[in-house]
């Protein structure tokens, strides 16, 4: 192991990790918004929009992110739509993450029983108020473990971004291997970088899950 080399390239990894994290955060934020929006559409079975959303979800879940990125980066320009690599990554991650978030949020919404909803209606709340004060708060706490799992999944998926020439962690590692043949060092640093990125998320998710179990409301 060439520690001198490692010391020299660490700044490159830090920079790349920053970029990876930035894309991941923006992508996750958009995924959250898209997921929640789609979950509400499917939960309320909004005519027209609900089947369209269903189609999007199937499409998103049944194609690899790699192919989605290829499509955005190489096929769309032929249709006159030119996106930067950064934009491709954000859109690709959102396209993928939106459907995963949707599934998590919708199943969480559906855990709130009909009796709860009717109880809300019985005290004169409007449909929107029932959602806001009765369903959402309960669904949010149910969805936390699934949400955290999605966040981790999406951060891991960022490892394919290098194919559209984004200088992320994977890209830097491949670059170093190509230039200096330092395969071991480059790969170790890559694995460690992802590990460090993911560790806090998994810690938070573990904590949230435990909290949820203690805060278990309802029954008994």
């Amino acid at each position: 192991m060439d520690f001198e080399f490692i010391k020299q390239v660490i700044p490159l990894y830090i920079e790349a990790a920053g970029l990876t994290l930035r894309i991941a955060l923006v992508g996750i934020l958009f995924s959250f918004a898209v997921g929640l929006f789609c979950a509400l559409i499917r939960y309320y079975k909004v005519p027209l929009l609900s089947p369209i959303t269903g189609f999007y979800i199937e499409l998103s879940r049944n194609t690899p992110l790699l192919i989605q990125l290829f499509f955005l980066y190489f096929a769309l320009p032929n249709l006159g739509i030119k996106l930067s690599s950064f934009q491709c990554c954000i859109i690709g991650l959102t396209f993928l993450g939106g459907s995963y978030m949707e599934e998590t949020f919708r199943s969480a919404l559906e855990t709130v029983s009909k009796v709860q909803i009717e109880s809300g209606q019985c005290i004169g709340l409007s449909g929107l108020q029932v959602m806001r004060y009765v369903v959402l708060p309960q669904a949010v706490s149910v969805s936390i473990p699934g949400f955290c799992a999605n966040v981790m999944f999406l951060i891991k998926e960022t490892s394919v971004f290098s194919i559209v020439a984004v200088a992320d962690l994977m890209y830097v590692a491949k670059d170093l291997i190509g230039l200096y043949y330092k395969t071991d060092e480059a790969l170790w640093l890559l694995a460690i970088s992802y590990f460090i990125l993911l560790l806090p998320v998994s810690a938070i998710s573990g904590y949230a899950e435990r909290r949820l179990r203690y805060a278990q409301f309802g029954s008994n």
């Binding site: 009717e118 809300g120 209606q121 019985c122 108020q129 004060y133 009765v134 409301f217 309802g218």
Partner: protein, 248 residues
């Protein structure tokens, strides 16, 4: 004029006719108990009155206003009709006080101070003066039902509907809930009650409505119904609650 008037109400689920031309009325301050075998449509009737079910035909009139099959403002109508049902239906993520305040504050936009005072008074009256910061999971079944009743009462409804509120309770908790209802009746609250507690029905009712298979079979004052029901089906029904026929 009656406070609540049900006329020629018909309700079916697909082809299953659950309410077949039901008509009756409830005067202000009256306590009406609905009895009948399981599946005869008692819950469905209460749910129609509260707009949780749409009806196929007929009218429900509250205080001179038709309230059946309203679509836009049903939540406004529901503020006038309090309902408590069998399953514990408190909101698990809110403490007792927040459970009670939600409707008056968000649906009726009333002054918080005023509602809190009212809630505290009611909680004290139902024997739960020190529970306002407890969460539903920390309460017994009977306590939860009493809170559910207070929650409905704090909306200041014109009529209260109770659907087997003690059915899921352990026997020793039934009494505390029934006592609350008894006090309400004495205060002059208009109530429509579905129950399987015959002694309670007899004690609280001004009038008994006996239903079978989606129709009203008889409407009688309780003394008469429990000693000598007019209908054969009424007699049969009451026999379910005694063991006289099994005497050795």
């Amino acid at each position: 004029m009656a406070l609540l008037e049900i006329s020629h109400l018909k309700k079916s689920f697909d082809k299953n006719e659950v309410l077949k031309d039901v008509s009756f009325s409830v005067n202000k301050g009256e306590v009406v108990v609905i009895l009948g075998p399981s599946g005869c449509g008692k819950s469905t009737l209460l749910r129609c009155i509260n707009g949780l079910e749409t009806v196929q035909d007929g009218k429900i009139i509250l205080d001179g206003e038709v309230i059946s099959n309203r679509t836009k403002d049903m939540h406004l109508i529901r503020q006038k009709v309090g309902m408590v049902f069998q399953s514990y239906d408190l909101f698990p993520h809110m403490n007792v006080l927040d459970n009670i305040l939600l409707g008056p504050m968000k649906a009726q936009h009333r002054d918080k101070q005023e509602v809190v005072r009212e809630a505290e008074e009611w909680l004290a009256r139902v024997g739960l003066p020190d529970k306002k910061l407890s969460y539903p999971r920390q309460l017994s079944g009977g306590q939860k039902q009493r809170v559910a009743i207070v929650r409905a009462l704090c909306m200041n409804p014109e009529v209260m509907l109770f659907d087997e509120v003690t059915a899921a309770l352990d026997p020793e908790m039934v009494r505390e809930v029934l006592d609350v209802m008894m006090n309400l009746a004495n205060d002059g609250m208009t109530m429509l009650i579905v129950t399987h507690q015959m002694d309670f029905a007899r004690a609280i009712a001004d009038r008994i409505i006996f239903m079978d298979e989606g129709s009203i079979v008889e409407e009688t004052e309780p003394g008469q119904f429990f000693s000598n029901p007019k209908s054969e089906r009424g007699k049969k029904f009451l026999e379910n609650f005694t063991f006289r026929v099994y005497r050795k």
